[in-house]
Symmetry: C2
Subunit: 310 residues, 2 copies
């Protein structure tokens, strides 16, 4: 049975990367909890990986077979790490096309924190919401890996960023990174507080919670605003009024992952602006279960990284 | 008091158009019912007008001061016909910038049926949803003026069009105009029937109803689909799941009216494809109240036109 966990032999178009670090995503946790479609086991999890290949420091594009359209993934698209073996390993065999030079200013841990969160944030904020310099952005659930990358990309683009969190300390941490301010979504009038504090509406809102709070977003929007979302952990949206959406010409834009082209654009932007992904904490790969336990508490601010200490 | 109903004297940048026909929009009905924001009376209603100016057959762009952004109307934008006097009249004084040559193949009545409905449909379908030839389109509530214009534009673009209505006869009328088929939204499994009949998903959905049926749209969508909406007469949307929206990279795009640039594009397209707006019936201007009564029944298929018979 454990033979299935061994990497397949690489062919000419494959690379065998010696992994130095990887990072957890909620997807990994959902799979261990059985909360993901089409789970096949045994399988090495992990979508994010930084390592060495051919004497170079490389990052791995965290998916396979995006497909031919820039607008959406194709039928054969898979996120790396289930069904294919992923990056929670010492080595990975991966198509050479998935290998990209790692921005030089990043440590192994920062590099490993970047791929899936950075790609998801990039596509949502840049490709889908078409963020413009000087715009005002509201990002919910700050502390999550994608939300933080979206904040860093928006700030580097010259946007003004406001955040929300259920944890006052995370709002302070976001402000230390450049956010203009934030509100607690645990307060029933958070939208009014945000409107009052920020002084005007928003051009872009980035969310992964959904739920009934989502229905308040159009009221926070400026004309022509874009609401980008890549998750819906709080469930279905109720009470969504279409009137402010069509009258203000608002766009609600679903987004998931991103294409290899977007991955390359994102890496170039990270290099240009010397962006360092926020790492919450690190565990040795051998203590992966402790890393999962830490993710389950939800207290992290940034990515949880696994280090290969061999 | 009635002095207020007289047109103001035209200045150099104004045109005085001798109106030959006008058309009703639901906006006019909502204003007579007190169901519109910022109602000021007395006021001549009417946004759609066709007439003669300077020896030319002209159509009137049905709004004032769109503003400088192509993405949304500006702060001073107004739809024609409240607060400014509108087109249910024999003459109108209007900025010359609002005057466009009427496509030659149109009668006065067809011309009057075009401006507001055509503009709204054009922006929703073309500017917002970026319809591509060969795509598959689903248009709800066929029979409404905007829905019919969207269908005619989509068909002329080489799209396959499916429709819904609460009235079987309207579906047959839509098929006679080129629709591939349709379903009754009064049947509880209309979405399954539509899926089965049409054989695959949709690339574009055009809606003005909203309500709980809206939450079924993402399930009908192909990856990369766009859902454009310009109304929400059935009220708020409940039970909207974000998962299919972000996984399929779907865009939900609110749209209202359109810019002068879009109006000119729309007229050019109508001329090129020799499109004739569907006129449900005509009333003399002097029997305007009967026209409103007819609109209230909801039985119409196409625009209700008022003729100047003087």
């Amino acid at each position: 049975m454990f033979d299935e966990l061994l990497p397949t032999l690489p062919c000419e178009t494959d690379a065998q990367v010696n992994l130095k670090a990887s990072a957890l995503n909620h997807r990994d946790l959902f799979i261990t909890q059985g909360l993901y479609a089409g789970i096949k086991i045994p399988c090495v999890l992990g979508s994010d990986g930084a390592g060495e290949w051919n004497g170079q420091r490389v990052l791995i594009y965290p998916a396979l077979e995006w497909g031919s359209s820039p607008n959406h993934q194709g039928k054969h698209f898979r996120v790396l790490g289930m069904p294919e073996h992923g990056t929670f390993a010492e080595q990975i065999t991966i198509p050479k096309a998935n290998i990209y030079a790692m921005p030089e200013h990043l440590s192994w841990e920062e590099g490993a924190a970047l791929p899936l969160a950075g790609l998801t944030a990039w596509r949502t904020l840049m490709s889908r919401c078409q963020l413009q310099p000087g715009e005002k952005v509201f990002i919910t659930g700050i502390g999550g890996g994608v939300a933080l990358m979206a904040m860093q990309f928006a700030l580097a683009s010259g946007a003004e960023v406001w955040v929300s969190s259920g944890n006052a300390q995370k709002i302070e941490q976001a402000k230390a990174l450049g956010a203009a301010g934030g509100v607690s979504y645990r307060e029933s009038d958070w939208d009014k507080q945000l409107k009052q504090q920020s002084g005007s509406g928003f051009d872009v809102i980035i969310d992964s919670a959904g739920g009934d709070g989502f229905a308040l977003f159009p009221g926070l929007c400026n004309p022509g605003a874009r609401i980008g979302f890549y998750g819906g952990t709080l469930g279905k949206v109720n009470g969504l009024s279409l009137q402010p959406i069509f009258w203000k010409q608002i766009s609600l834009l679903g987004s998931t992952m991103g294409s290899p082209t977007e991955f390359a654009e994102m890496l170039k932007f990270v290099e240009k602006h010397q962006i360092r992904p926020v790492v919450d904490c690190m565990f040795p790969l051998s203590q992966g279960n402790a890393a999962f336990d830490h993710m389950e508490t939800g207290g992290q601010f940034g990515k949880i990284v696994l280090q290969n200490t061999l």
